[in-house]
């Protein structure tokens, strides 16, 4: 979800469409809003003013930091995995 919001604010439906495009997974409403609530409570995303049925969310500076940290961790793990697999 943070990756989806990294290129600009989106409402719930736009987030599910975007994630389906780049991740190949469709988030259902219960899962989507469970994740939105958690990310909001952690201060990683925030709601913008708008129609309460199509409220847009944006990533915060704190969320951007967390996303960068996570990507950095994933890259390190990925590089280690590639090195070890190449040695087999």
């Amino acid at each position: 979800m943070l990756v989806s919001l990294a290129d600009g604010p989106k409402h719930g439906y736009a987030i599910t469409q975007d994630i389906a495009r780049f991740a190949g997974r469709t988030l259902r409403p219960g899962t989507l809003y469970g994740a939105i609530a958690r990310l909001e409570s952690w201060g990683y995303i925030e709601a913008l003013a708008g129609d309460e049925r199509r409220r847009p969310y944006r990533i915060t500076a704190h969320g951007t930091r967390a996303l960068k940290d996570t990507i950095s961790d994933m890259q390190r793990v990925g590089a280690t995995a590639r090195r070890r697999l190449a040695a087999r």
Binding site: R28, P29, G34, A37, R38, E52, R53
Partner: protein, 453 residues
């Protein structure tokens, strides 16, 4: 669909229900989708704090959901000094701590009134207390937070309260730091005072006193008063409030004097008398309760700030809990004082008494007594009663020597003469700047008493 949404907690439905409904309307709800919603409803009941926008951190105030706080009391003792972390709020933006010092007396150390006057008061608008004659319990304070291998330097350290006795001294500092790493569960505060150091390890947990958002507001004289949050803590109702105006906001009603932060385990007599005008809570059962105490911003941000052209002050008011039968309540704010910082007047302290005009407001400077061995002068003033509203209460500030501090006190409403003190140079000229104007209310804000379980 509506039946399914009813399985979610009410706060969750209020916050996300319309969005979930709109999303389901666009996607065909399959059996897997139905199960997903059921799972989501169970998750929402298991984690009710997730739908909260704010949490209440005792002694600090309302902060964003996701704020972490202390798991348990954290303290240490060394070098005749006892350090306790009284409260902590780790938000995604910053980390706020309140730290209590208790130190055995060191009679060899003294400070001048000028140094100790620089200590600000935590109570917004409250006059600083007269300078103590002995030293504060610390001098060259610095603080860091360490989380694993990371060290965060404090962005500010400020003393708020100080008490002295023959046995020793006590004070409370607020300390601000950058945000802690998101996943941190343990950290340590390291405080250095000159060559001495203390380390207080602590553990973090999510703040659990979830707030109920409230939308109630009242505007009069271009002053808007809002009730924004409610929380329930220690059999008390905590009401989050916000006052905004086109000029800096000063006192908001006049509560009974109370120590803003109580030393651990100590009790103080609360003086009650004429001239008080506390914020009041009336419930729909006819019960009336005066505020017990307030929790103000510890620093200028984020509770006091300028939003566009409006000055905003946020604070929390604590009342005894209304009865369980009460369904709604009304908060009544008696008056709000604003500071008009434009008018100024210069007085020569060699020519007293003198009549002065601050814009359309008048006052008489009666005397300016010198303290032996100090450049401070104690000035007595008579404030002329305003013919029209808002009422002139007192000058906002006074400056004598460049960069000098000032203080004020006394309440003509309670029969006490009004005074101001300032460091004065040569020639003994002082400049009175700005006026504090009182706008009488009341502002009445009614809201439902629905609290989180």
């Amino acid at each position: 669909m509506k039946h399914l949404l009813r399985l979610y907690p009410r706060r969750w439905r209020d916050r996300y229900g319309a969005e979930i409904g709109a999303l389901v309307a666009r996607q065909r709800l399959s059996v897997k989708g139905l199960l997903d919603l059921l799972k989501g409803a169970a998750d929402a009941h298991l984690h009710p704090a997730l739908a909260a926008q704010h949490v209440f951190v005792p002694t600090i105030g309302f902060r964003p959901a996701g704020t972490r706080t202390l798991l348990e009391r954290a303290e240490t003792s060394a070098d005749d000094t006892h350090l306790t972390i009284l409260a902590l709020a780790a938000t995604p933006e910053r980390t706020e701590l309140l730290v209590e010092w208790e130190r055995a007396s060191d009679p060899a150390v003294c400070v001048s009134p000028t140094e100790s006057d620089a200590a600000p008061s935590i109570e917004m608008g409250a006059p600083p207390k007269r300078a103590p004659s002995i030293a504060p319990p610390e001098s060259q304070l610095s603080a860091t937070l360490s989380v694993g291998s990371r060290v965060l330097e404090s962005t500010s350290v400020m003393r708020h309260s100080v008490l002295y006795s023959s046995a020793g001294s006590w004070s409370v500092h607020s300390m601000d730091f950058p945000a802690l790493p998101a996943g941190a569960r343990r950290a340590a505060l390291r405080v250095s005072d000159g060559g001495r150091h203390w380390t207080v390890p602590f553990r973090l947990v999510p703040a659990r006193l979830t707030a109920t958002p409230v939308t109630a507001q009242s505007t009069k004289d271009d002053i808007t008063v809002k009730v924004t949050d409610l929380a329930h803590h220690d059999d008390q109702l905590v009401v989050g409030m916000e006052v905004s105006a086109g000029q800096p906001v000063g006192r908001i009603g006049e509560p009974a004097p109370a120590m803003p932060i109580l030393p651990s385990g100590r009790k103080f007599k609360v003086a009650r008398g004429a001239g008080l005008a506390p914020i009041v809570l009336e419930d729909d059962r006819g019960a009336r309760r005066e505020e017990i105490r307030r929790v103000f911003a510890l620093r200028d941000q984020p509770d006091a700030h300028i939003d566009g052209e409006r000055f905003v002050q946020r604070f929390s008011v604590l009342f005894d809990m209304p009865s369980a039968e009460a369904r709604s309540a009304t908060v009544i704010v008696p008056f709000v004082e604003l500071k008009d910082q434009r008018p100024s007047a210069v007085a020569d302290l060699r020519q007293l008494p003198v009549d002065l005009e601050l814009g359309e407001h008048r006052m008489r400077l009666l005397s300016a007594d010198a303290y032996p061995g100090s450049d401070h002068r104690h000035m007595k003033l008579v404030i002329e009663e305003s013919a029209t509203a808002p009422r002139f209460i007192h000058p906002a500030a006074v400056q004598g020597a460049p960069g000098g501090s000032y203080s004020w006190g006394g309440s003509p409403e309670r029969g006490e003469p009004f005074w101001m003190e300032a460091a004065v140079g040569d020639p003994p000229l002082v400049t009175f700047r700005g006026v504090v104007l009182r706008h009488d209310g009341p502002w009445r804000l009614e809201f439902p008493l629905s609290l989180p379980n």
